[in-house]
C-alpha cells in the first residue's frame, strides 16, 4: 500500500469517527426539541447544533480527501506531490477539529470582539470555527490542491477525471476564503455566505463527489474510463448549468433584489432533471451487472447515493423551491428535512461506498460479505428516511399553522410549536434518530472488524 493510501485510510477512519460525533450531537439536538431543559446550564442547544452541522462538514470533507488520496496513486502511477505535507497536515487537521470542538463545548461564546472571532468562534452558521481554525482548513485545502495538481504535473499526464478534479481545486480553495471576512450588513454578509454554503458545498463538492464516484464505479463495476468520463462531463455541465444559479433560491428573503426570485426559482426547478438521468444510469448498472459484485456494500451505497440524491435533492427540494411556496416553508423543519436527505444522498452514501472499497483492498478481501453491512445499511437508511419523513410532517405543520394561517407572529410561532402534528414529527424524529444511531454503531463495528475475524472451518471427523 502506498503512502497516499495509508493517508487515505487515516482520513477515512477520521471521517467515520467524526460521523459518530455528528450523529451523537444530532441526537442530542433532537432531545432538546422534546425537553428544552435538557442539559440546562451545561450545554446549550445551539452548541449541540453547531457540533452537529460543523462535524457534518468535516466528516464529509475528510471522507472526500480520503477517497482522493486513495485513488490518486492509481490514477497517476506515483505518490502525490507533497505527500509529506499532507501527512503532517492530517494530524494538524484532526487536532484542530478536536480543539475547536472542545472550545465549542467548554467556552461556547465570548464578547463581540476580534479576539472572540480569532480564538473562540465566528458565529456564522457552518463556519463557526474561529479564524485560527479557518486558516488551518484553508491551508489543508491548499495542500490538498497541491497534492492533486502537483502530482499531475509530476506525472506529466492527466486523465479526464483528474483534469476535472484539478480545475475544481481552484473554486474549492478560493470559495472557502469567504469564511473569513466580518461584514456588518447582514444582507451583504448572507449574500456572500451563501457562496460559501451553496457554491462551495453544493457545487464544488458536487463535482468532487462526481469525480470520486466515477473512480469508484470504474473500480467497482470495471466500467470503461471513457464511459464514466463521458458521464462526468455531462454531470459537470449540468451542475454548472443549473447548480450555480440555483444559488438564487437562497436569496429569496435576505434583502436581495426581486430578480433573484425568478432566477433562483427557475434554475432550482431545473436541478431535479439531471438527477433523473442519474437514477436511470444507476438502474442500468444494477440491471446489467445483475447486482453481482465482489463488494456489495460499496455497490449498494453507490445505488443509495443515486436514489438518495434524487429523493432528497429532487423531490424534497422541488416541493419548496418555487418562491411562492418557499415564502411559507423556508427556515422551517421542512427545509431541515430536505437538507438532511439531500446531504445524505449526495455525499454521505458516496463516502461510505469508498470506505468499503478501500477496506476491501487494504484487507485483501476477495469479497465483502456478512450480515453486518446489511444491518448498518438498513438501520442507517431506514433511520434517515424516518427522520426526514418526521421532519417533513413537523415542517409542513409549521409552515401551515405558523406561517400560512398565523402570519408568522410570535403567537403563531408558539401555536405552531405546540401543534400536535409538529410534536408528532419531533418525537418520531427522535425515535428514528435512535435507529440511525444504532446503524452508525453497527457500521463502525462492521468497518472495524470486517475480514479480521478468524474464519472457523469445520474439520472432518477422523475415520474410525
Amino acid at each position: 500500500m502506498s503512502r497516499s493510501q495509508g493517508l487515505a485510510v487515516k482520513y477515512l477512519a477520521a471521517a467515520v469517527l467524526f460521523f459518530g460525533v455528528m450523529t451523537a450531537s444530532g441526537l442530542m439536538s433532537a432531545v432538546y426539541y422534546i425537553d428544552p431543559n435538557f442539559l440546562f446550564g451545561l450545554l446549550h442547544f445551539s452548541t449541540a447544533k453547531m457540533l452537529h452541522i460543523d462535524t457534518m462538514i468535516i466528516w464529509l470533507l475528510m471522507g472526500f480527501m480520503g477517497a482522493v488520496y486513495w485513488f490518486l496513486p492509481e490514477e497517476f502511477g506515483c505518490e502525490p506531490a507533497g505527500i509529506w505535507a499532507a501527512e503532517l497536515l492530517f494530524w494538524v487537521f484532526v487536532a484542530a477539529v478536536l480543539v475547536v470542538a472542545a472550545i465549542f463545548v467548554f467556552v461556547q461564546w465570548g464578547p463581540g470582539t476580534e479576539t472572540t472571532l480569532w480564538l473562540f468562534q465566528q458565529g456564522r452558521k457552518y463556519v463557526e470555527a474561529p479564524r485560527w481554525a479557518a486558516v488551518g482548513v484553508a491551508l489543508v485545502m491548499l495542500v490538498f490542491a497541491w497534492n492533486v495538481v502537483g502530482t499531475a504535473v509530476r506525472a506529466k499526464r492527466i486523465t479526464g477525471i483528474m483534469a476535472v478534479m484539478s480545475v475544481n481545486m481552484v473554486p474549492l480553495v478560493l470559495l472557502y476564503l469567504i469564511a473569513f471576512p466580518k461584514i456588518d450588513n447582514m444582507a451583504v454578509d448572507l449574500y456572500w455566505w451563501w457562496w460559501l454554503v451553496h457554491l462551495w458545498v453544493e457545487a464544488t463538492w458536487e463535482i468532487l463527489i462526481g469525480c470520486i464516484m466515477a473512480l469508484a464505479v470504474m473500480k467497482l463495476l470495471d466500467t470503461s474510463r471513457k464511459i464514466v468520463e463521458g458521464w462526468l462531463y455531462i454531470e459537470v455541465g449540468l451542475v454548472l448549468g443549473t447548480g450555480i444559479l440555483g444559488l438564487g433560491h437562497h436569496y429569496f428573503w435576505i434583502g436581495t433584489p426581486d430578480y433573484w426570485l425568478g432566477i433562483g426559482g427557475l434554475f432550482s426547478a431545473l436541478e431535479p432533471l439531471p438527477l433523473l438521468g442519474m437514477v436511470v444510469h444507476a438502474i442500468y448498472d444494477a440491471g446489467v451487472h445483475r447486482m453481482k459484485t465482489t463488494n456489495r456494500p460499496a455497490f449498494y451505497w453507490t445505488l443509495a447515493e443515486a436514489f438518495g440524491n434524487f429523493l432528497g435533492g429532487g423531490v424534497f427540494g422541488f416541493m419548496i423551491t418555487l418562491p411562492q411556496l418557499n415564502l411559507f416553508a423556508h427556515g422551517t423543519q421542512w427545509t431541515v428535512s430536505h437538507g438532511h436527505f439531500a446531504f445524505w444522498g449526495a455525499y454521505a452514501c458516496g463516502v461510505l461506498a469508498v470506505c468499503y472499497i478501500a477496506l476491501q483492498e487494504r484487507r485483501r478481501l476477495a469479497a465483502v460479505e456478512g450480515p453486518g453491512w446489511i444491518w448498518a445499511f438498513i438501520l442507517l437508511n431506514g433511520g434517515l428516511i424516518g427522520m426526514v419523513g418526521s421532519l417533513l410532517v413537523a415542517g409542513m405543520a409549521q409552515a401551515f399553522f405558523e406561517r400560512a394561517i398565523g402570519g408568522s407572529t410570535l403567537d403563531a410561532f408558539i401555536a405552531g410549536q405546540e401543534n400536535a402534528w409538529f410534536q408528532l414529527g419531533i418525537y418520531t424524529r427522535f425515535g428514528f434518530g435512535l435507529m440511525f444511531s444504532a446503524g452508525y454503531v453497527v457500521l463502525a463495528w462492521n468497518l472495524l472488524t470486517l475480514g479480521r475475524r478468524r474464519v472457523v472451518v469445520a474439520q472432518p471427523l477422523p475415520a474410525e
Binding site: 470503461s224 438521468g277 434524487f310 409542513m396
Partner: protein, 99 residues
C-alpha cells in the same frame, strides 16, 4: 395563496418529481427486462405525472411563469429516460462496458 392551496401545491410539486422517478425506474426496468409489465408501470407513472402537472397548471395559484415551467418540466421528464437509455446503450456498445 390560501393555506390549503399552499400545502396542496407543494404536495403536487413533490409528487410530480416522485412520479418522474417512478417513470424513470419503470422505463429502465422495462428496457432491461424487456417486460411489458414494467412498460405499463412506467406508462402509469408518467400518466400520474401528466395529470399532476395538469392539476398544477389548471387549479393552483402558481403564477403563469411557474405554470409554464411545470409544463415544460413535465415534457422534459418524458424524454430524459429514453435519451439516457439510448446514450448508455450507445456508449456501452461502442466502447465496451469494461475497461
Amino acid at each position: 395563496m390560501t393555506p390549503g392551496a399552499f400545502l396542496a401545491t407543494s404536495g403536487l410539486l413533490g409528487l410530480m418529481v416522485l412520479a418522474a422517478g417512478a417513470y424513470g425506474l419503470g422505463y429502465t426496468a422495462s428496457q432491461l427486462k424487456r417486460s411489458r409489465r414494467w412498460a405499463l408501470a412506467a406508462a402509469a407513472a408518467y400518466a400520474v405525472l401528466a395529470i399532476d402537472a395538469a392539476v398544477l397548471i389548471a387549479a393552483t395559484p402558481l403564477t403563469p411563469g411557474w405554470k409554464i415551467l411545470v409544463g415544460a418540466s413535465a415534457l422534459a421528464y418524458l424524454g430524459i429516460p429514453p435519451l439516457t437509455w439510448r446514450y448508455l446503450q450507445r456508449t456501452h456498445d461502442q466502447k465496451g462496458a469494461h475497461a
